[in-house]
Amino acid sequence: MSEKSRSDFTPVPKVSAVPPMRYETPLVPRNSISGRALVAVVAIMTFLASLTTGGVILVSQAASAWQADVSREVTVQIIPAAGRDIEADVSKAASIVKNTAGVADVRAYSKQESEKLLEPWLGTGLTLDELPVPRLIVVKIASGAAPDLPQLRGVLQAQVPGAVLDDHRGFIERMRAMSGTAIAVGIGILLLMIAATVLSVTFATRGAMATNKTVIEVLHFVGAKNRFIAENFQRHFLLLGLEGGAFGGGAAIALFAIASFLSRWFGTTAGGEQTSALFGSFSIGLGGYAAVVVQVLLIAGVTAFTSRQTVNRTLEMID
């Protein structure tokens, strides 16, 4: 357009100078109501999914810890028999066990200690001299070692009549079945939670995209290529997803960190010890925090992917 032709169009109030203002407003409007609603949905769903993940990790860790604690310990019980010196039997059994490969520690309970174990049931002040109170030897297995327990059981039975080795196998089996069920249920709930999160984030993204139809159309009509439009929306919605995910995932991480801190803080009290025995330290560990971060990225990715799909569908409808 020539300078001459432009100057022919007379009624133009000219501005003296260009005021410093924003020049590069994002093509996709920020801070729209639907965008904020999407951030809220993503934050809430990420928070709930992260709590579920953390819960599954805690149950799994507690179950593993119970199993490990029980399986690292076996008990030898010496039952008194007529005509035998139980102190000598205890001493001999302890010696046999101590010399077995893979045993870290052996502790034989004294007569007084064994009687003390019965106090919760029989009360104090009783004389138990006349009763055949069995004696216990608690054997700690070295970490990572697997002593040959059947052979040890045979040796004990051969050399110390009345010695019974209990490796808690039945209890461990029941524990394993219970913890396996708990973890399977937890993973099932987690999968449902992730599916619900993906679906709700998908629909919330589509809702937010509906308000941007005019933007897509205008960009299309001024000559923007489909890829350019899709990339702009994808980037915008990825940021929205990350923002919501950071709020939700961050809140979940903070909650787990506080719970872990409190469980350590109150760990020395009676109630704290009970809780700790049942649920462990309430710490989901680095792996747990990494799982929350992965969820945040996954949900942000779902948001971006859905927006791109919606843009492509809208552009196909326009054409």
Binding site: R6, V12, V18, Y23, T25, P29, V218, F221, K225
Partner: protein, 219 residues
């Protein structure tokens, strides 16, 4: 520049809304497109703007058969066409300046390279003092001029305008017509779809009249 040969258009399984259109739009030409409501003016504009494909016939634009173009090629070709929508279609979250600069921005040009150009055009259409205003606070006439400025900022070879004077008073309508005439003098082919007989009477130009889906041309 634009050639239609026996072009027909129908929506879905409905009747043909445009029938046997055969005409050319030459470079540097000026024409009004008119006809009664429902005659198919907007459909014809959409065909010219490549946002519809004909159900039959041949359309060539700038030497390309539009039926064979890829989506990216259509987008590139569309940059040579400016369009003024009846409902303006300005983006409410962007200032007047940014709305007008949008075609240049999507081409990937850096903002510094077109800043002066956009401000000069805004001054030219009388929006020099509304540069940073957002569309919701602009009057109907101001929106119309912003939409026209956006359509011409990339110096299109073909300008299409759908009822550009439909929302403005007669004096502003005259000014807008002068604007289109100036653009035409500077080399842009112009097609104005309008019902406004008074507007057409102000300028002696070719008339394309649509009636019952058929086109009658009065040179």
């Amino acid at each position: 520049m634009v050639r239609f040969e026996n072009v027909g258009l129908r929506y879905g399984m409905g009747p043909e809304v445009l029938r046997d259109l055969t005409f050319r739009i030459e470079p540097h030409s000026f024409q009004f497109l008119t006809g009664p409501s429902g005659a198919g003016k907007t459909s014809l504009l959409r065909l010219l703007f490549l946002s519809l494909k004909p159900t039959r016939g041949l359309i060539t634009q700038f030497g390309h058969d539009v039926a064979t173009l890829s989506k990216d090629a259509v987008a590139t070709l569309r940059r040579r066409i400016g369009i003024v929508f009846q409902d303006f279609r300005l983006l409410d979250h962007m200032s007047t300046y940014e709305n007008v600069a949008l075609p240049l921005r999507v081409m990937g040009r850096p903002e510094e390279s077109y800043r002066d150009e956009v401000i000069e055009l805004l001054n030219w259409v009388g929006l020099g003092e509304r540069i940073w205003a957002l569309p919701p606070v602009l009057s109907g006439g101001e929106k119309q001029r912003a939409a026209i400025a956006r359509a011409v900022i990339a110096r299109p070879q073909l300008l299409l305008a759908d009822e550009p004077t439909g929302n403005v008073d007669p004096s502003l309508g005259q000014r807008l017509l002068r604007l289109f005439i100036e653009l035409n003098k500077s080399g842009t082919s112009v097609v104005i779809a309008t019902h406004d007989i008074a507007l057409m009477d102000q300028y002696d130009a070719r008339r394309l009249v649509l009636h019952d889906g058929r086109l009658h041309i009065y040179d």
